[in-house]
């Protein structure tokens, strides 16, 4: 019988939904399923994981584990996996878990598959590759198997049940605590939320310069929608973080999503693939965004968008 450990990422007072989704899936697959919470003052949180199918929740509480940094978490996981004989460790994709899982793979000499959208009881994972143009069935050849699931893959469904909480104490490696958190700035909402909009016009680096966001704003206004952005332009300071769509931004599912000058990286796609209709304008015919657009337009957005806005305005009066 397989023994599965699910890494439960938490932020402030809640376990991340995506982690609970992975836990839900692990419980469906069967075997001995446990969760692990690593942080400081996280004991209280552990109980809720029982409702999603964890029979056991390991708790590592330590001041040094308070900031969400990867390396000390590798020390904790490696110890629990070795001591308790887990053969499978599952993660929900995040900035933190990618770093944790990759280092753990080296520490345990365990194979790591990432970006999975499913896992079967037989131990075969589904990995969409090359801008999701091909689905690869992946497996493991090591005793311990590690997997990271794409964000938003599984719904978190409570099944009832309660977990036994078990505390672990850990020794941290010297190098694991060299990186220190100086500051964590939490996101603040600026302007109206894009999550409820029926129409979204999103701008990427293809707009060319921050001032050109006005093209996205005018088109959004004409369509009666909101404006969104990619990480590339948010981190470059062109647009506020609260308007970012994708893995580390918002997930949206409007009726219409218009992408202007956006390449269509997976981390962007996971935040907008639920849109009913996707229209993309991009000058590069090979841009990955065309793999998942309903209407793909190969062309210069600077030539197309002003005219498009004018036509939409005229139509809607």
């Amino acid at each position: 019988m397989s023994k599965t450990l699910v890494f439960l990422e938490h932020h402030e007072d809640a376990i991340q939904k995506s982690s609970l989704g992975v836990l839900t899936r692990a419980a469906q697959l069967g075997g001995d399923v446990a969760g692990i919470l690593i942080g400081s003052g996280v004991s209280e949180l552990g109980a809720s994981a029982g409702e999603y199918g964890a029979a056991t929740v390991w708790i590592a509480n330590d001041e040094r584990l308070a900031p969400p940094l990867p390396q000390p978490r590798v020390d904790v996981l490696a110890q629990v996996v070795r001591d308790e004989g887990y053969d499978t460790v599952l993660f929900a994709q995040s900035v933190l878990t990618a770093d944790v899982a990759a280092a753990l793979a080296v520490r345990l000499e365990a194979g790591l598959n990432w970006d999975l959208t499913d896992l079967t009881a037989e131990g075969i994972g589904t990995r969409p590759a090359l801008a999701d143009s091909v689905y690869v069935d992946v497996g493991w050849s090591t005793a311990v198997r590690l997997a990271i699931f794409r964000s938003g893959t599984f719904d978190a469904t409570p099944v009832g049940g309660s977990a036994e909480l078990k505390e672990v104490t850990v020794d941290l490696e010297d190098f694991s605590t060299l990186a220190e958190m100086v500051e964590q700035a939490h996101a603040v909402q600026q302007g109206p939320s894009i999550e409820d909009a029926d129409v979204i016009v999103a701008g990427g680096r293809g707009l060319g310069e921050p001032e050109k966001f006005v093209l996205a704003e005018e088109l959004a206004q004409a369509l009666g929608g909101a404006v969104a952005a990619t990480r590339a332009v948010v981190d470059a300071g062109w647009y506020p973080y609260s308007a970012q769509v994708g893995q580390t931004g918002k997930s949206v599912a409007p009726k219409l999503y218009v992408a202007l000058g956006i390449s269509g990286a997976i981390q962007h796609k996971v935040g907008m693939q639920g849109s009913t209709v996707i229209v993309a304008i991009n000058k590069d015919p090979n841009a990955p965004i065309f793999e998942f657009s309903d209407l793909g337009v190969v062309g210069d957005l600077h030539a197309i968008v002003p005219r498009l806005t004018e036509l939409v305005r005229a139509r809607r009066g």
Partner: protein, 253 residues
């Protein structure tokens, strides 16, 4: 200051990237180019060197022999020399094999700063740096969009699912930078001309501590579910009209 930059040579997007059904590996026989995301790491290395007033930038890569041509772009941008780990025994390496080979090459160099890009353009896990840092037993900061180096302490700001983290680490350290950190320079004509003459060394698996096995397997390939009636048009001057017609047809306006 010695700065190593890990860059990957990937199949050119324009040539189309595909998985060879026979080997179930990425087809690498066509033209290889430097992964676009890694040019940001090269640029950041150049800026650190320029700010320090001196230093050496070593481009480190693992891949087929032909990858050297792709590494030349980094040399043309201003990197000082290139080290390519290339060996039949390493073909088909996954995270375990690649991280071990790169760590082995990096150990020979002993750089104070080891830079990575944010992800491989041909479908990596955006995590290799962490595996390499584990081998080297060094601190790691990933997805850095603002980097500051003062004395022998680096500070990086990065975006997460919850906002922005600022993380500090002493050198030597492994830093992965995002594509928002800078605007990579274009190689100058002089840079391009000079690149060929810069030192380019190939190492075999034996030079980097031997090949690690792989921990993952590929069991099969399949086509993704069909996407309905997707359309793609080239703008011939009438794209705006065509988009409006489409939106009307879909009853979106």
């Amino acid at each position: 200051m010695k700065i190593a930059v890990c860059v990957k040579a990937v199949p050119d997007a324009a040539g189309g990237r595909r998985i060879d059904p026979a080997t179930m590996r990425l087809e690498r026989s066509g033209e290889l180019t430097i992964s676009e995301f890694d040019t940001y790491a090269v640029e950041e290395g150049l800026r650190l060197k320029e700010a320090a007033g001196d230093g050496e930038i070593i481009v480190v890569s693992m891949g087929p022999e032909r990858a050297l041509d792709a590494l030349r772009k980094a040399l043309a941008m201003g990197a000082d020399r290139a080290v390519l780990v290339t060996d039949e025994a390493l073909a088909g390496s996954d995270l375990l094999g690649t991280s071990k080979a790169l760590a082995g090459a990096l150990e020979r160099e002993g750089a104070e700063v080891v830079l990575f890009g944010q992800q491989s353009a041909d479908g990596g896990g955006a995590c290799l740096w962490s595996a390499v840092a584990e081998h080297l037993r060094l601190p790691v900061i990933s997805q850095v969009s603002e980097l500051e180096l003062v004395g022998s302490v680096v500070t990086g700001k990065r975006q997460t699912e919850f906002g922005y983290d600022t993380i500090r680490a002493p050198l030597p350290a492994v830093i992965a930078v995002s594509d928002a950190i800078n605007t990579p320079r274009y190689p100058s004509l002089k840079g391009i001309m000079g690149a060929k003459k810069k030192p380019q060394v190939s190492l075999g698996a034996g030079d980097v501590g031997g090949a690690a096995g792989t921990g993952t397997t590929v069991e099969g390939l399949s086509a993704p579910p069909p996407r309905g009636d997707a359309r793609k048009i080239d703008d011939d001057g009438r794209a705006a009209e065509q988009i409006v017609d489409y939106l009307v047809e879909k009853r979106l306006i």
